[in-house]
Symmetry: C2
Subunit: 412 residues, 2 copies
């Protein structure tokens, strides 16, 4: 008898990934598919069609998380949950997020085609807005589902065009009015999310599968410096209150604060918005973001808490406002799922490695709700959030076989 | 008998400035009126209406410079020219540029109402795109008129929305198809431009009028740093090619290069564009502008020429491209016009001060064509390129009386 892992189709999985990659394709084999846009809806309709072809039940919750469910023999048993997200970074690749959703669908399809009956239902979820590229912060869907934040808390967040999150969500749900609804929140038996590693370790160590042990913590800040605009040709430098110059001073001081000889701490200034942003006017306002991550909660707390004072001490004469937009503590995954993934890898005769996640995932917010874990597959040069992001069809299929096996174990 | 200066109306001038300030008004009494836009055309139609009411002849040239002409008794004599520009910075004020145009119109009106007959014609010009806020560099109209650059050289410049200058110009000229055309270029007897000082000296010294002796030189550059984008959570800092971090290094090194204890040198980084500009991706590209000005041509040359090597030495691992977008040597104005302005100020019993211009003006490009000068009026706290820009009705009228007197002298 063929088990679900043997029924996983490398060709079908790859073809579906490539079909999805055409929705929002950008030059260089990249994808730009922001959440709650027409492109996002197009991708979701494609997924729904595939799910319905194997008899999965489709539903959507008030945060627009999309659910695909395969029944178990015990209708009331807590389901085993898998999934990830379908939105991308603005200059993103073809695998981040969507791989976990399509690997989940492929696992369901393999269970279906192999005639496997599980005791527990198995659900695949596509979480809304993991990336935070359109509406910051990311992981709004999983946070709202888990109760980590009420959905209303995101209502007034605006995208770069000034659209409110609440309005984009309402428009989106209206477009999916034909889909059955389910409430936010449930209590799965376990959650396991497949994802590309987005880092170099598996490739460097020549391993097929990452058995993920936890996720480092993240804190996101926006620093706004307010000075005074002035004519670039007439105003002596000594009299200026130049927000660009104070931004340079602030970032230099933050670099010193964030020094880490072990190179474990991640400190990124990725977004800078200057006003009025013309070449011949002194800037009166600069806003820049800080993305700080570390696996140690104490380091994350101490360095993050020092940001405001560090910036205030570094600037010369602009006003400083520091806002914390997001704070996620480091999390440890559950042995139930870690072991299931490790056993599945062994059963599939692929090499594995236990490692923590450097990137941030929806799984982070599922941890308080049920035993949680993740499966990583290698990606070339560790590159992600970039059109050059790549994992091979064989690597992706290998991870999906491990997922199918692990789901079957957890749902048995 | 009343002379032209006595016929200048402070109330009319102020009312017309306030009428113009409503076209493109922004909060805080500012104006955002970009060149070759519907707002620009609305402002020009208002000006044309006022000019026609005193019988001035209106025409437009291929660079969309707008001309108002009052005949002299000797039809073929070279005209005396005044004027300035009508476009503003994106976050601009109510006086920069438009004051020189409306002061010219007010002087024509005063000549008309006082029945003054001049030997030479007097022309008022509104130059196209002085600010460079929509299409960089600025002064395209005066450069094209003077032959400093062929008009075609600007064709492919694009505004922030991707519109080509040539297309914006063609659309604009089509909207003004009813206006008589004149060719680019002529040979005035003299040019005198009135403008707010945009600096603090007249106010600080308690003088009514600045007799401008010349304009410092300007060089504009765009520096583009190209690295590689990467995931902010997974990529060790040592492996990054972070364009934001190299921008910070480059600006710090440029600050050192541009040090000037006398605080005469003007060095401004006013515009920064980051790509992809998301908080959780390492930036793969940063472009920033440099606006460098100095009255001494040798300083301007040496510091400007050192920019590329300074940036290249400062960055860690991004590719560096430095493009010079604009280069204007310091210019000295002509004694014919300097003296006429100084004598006019004395005749009007207002105090004056000889000073160079820190800001950059269309007059710079008229210098090679005919004797040129400028009249400055004080502005509050030296603030310009800002909604807070302010000169009083009395200060503006005083400058206009000196302009009317000087024009009458030069056209006699």
């Amino acid at each position: 008898m063929t088990g679900p892992a043997e029924a996983v189709s490398e060709a079908r999985l790859w073809a579906r990934l490539m079909d999805m990659a055409r929705i929002g394709a950008i030059p260089g084999e990249g994808v730009n598919r922001a959440c709650l846009t027409p492109l996002d809806r197009q991708a979701r309709r494609l997924l729904i069609g595939w799910a319905e072809s194997i008899g999965a039940a489709v539903s959507v919750d008030p945060a627009a998380n999309l659910w695909l469910r395969r029944a178990g023999s015990e209708a009331e048993a807590a389901p085993v949950l898998t999934g990830s997200h379908m939105d991308t970074q603005p200059n993103g690749g073809r695998f981040d997020g969507i791989y976990g959703v399509l690997a989940g669908l492929e696992a369901l399809t393999a269970l279906h085609e192999s005639g496997t009956v599980t005791r527990r239902p198995i659900e695949v979820v596509a979480w809304t807005n993991e990336e935070g590229g359109r509406f910051a912060p990311g992981c709004m869907g999983s946070m709202a589902w888990s109760g980590c934040k009420p959905l209303d808390a995101f209502a007034e967040v605006r995208d770069p065009d000034g659209v409110r999150f609440a309005d984009a969500l309402a428009e989106h749900l209206a477009e999916e009015a034909d889909l059955p609804r389910r409430p936010l929140g449930n209590k799965p038996h376990a959650y396991v999310e497949a994802h590309i590693e987005q880092g170099p370790r598996l490739e460097r160590d020549g391993r097929d599968i990452g058995v993920v042990t936890g996720i480092q913590g993240s804190r996101w800040f926006t620093v706004t410096l307010t000075g005074e605009t002035a004519h670039a040709g007439t105003t002596p430098l000594a009299l200026r209150r130049d927000a660009v110059q104070d931004m340079v001073r602030a970032v230099a001081a933050l670099n010193a604060l964030m020094q880490d000889p072990a190179d474990v701490l991640r400190f990124t200034v990725g977004r800078i918005v200057v006003h009025p942003n013309t070449s011949n006017s002194v800037a009166d306002r600069v806003a820049f973001t800080i993305d700080l991550r570390h696996p140690d909660a104490a380091v994350l707390r101490d360095r993050g808490d020092a940001i405001a004072a560090t910036v205030a001490a570094a600037v010369r004469n602009t006003g400083v406002a520091v806002e914390e937009n997001f704070h996620a503590l480091p999390v440890a995954f559950d042995p139930l799922v870690i072991d299931a993934v490790e056993h599945a890898a062994a059963a599939q005769h692929v090499s594995s490695l236990r490692l923590p996640s450097g990137a941030f995932h929806d799984a982070q917010f599922v941890v308080p709700i049920c035993p949680t874990g993740m499966i990583f597959v290698p990606c070339r040069n560790g590159i992600s959030h970039n059109p050059a992001e790549f994992s091979s069809p064989a690597q992706l299929a290998s991870g999906t076989r491990v997922l199918a096996d692990a789901l079957a174990r957890l749902a048995a």
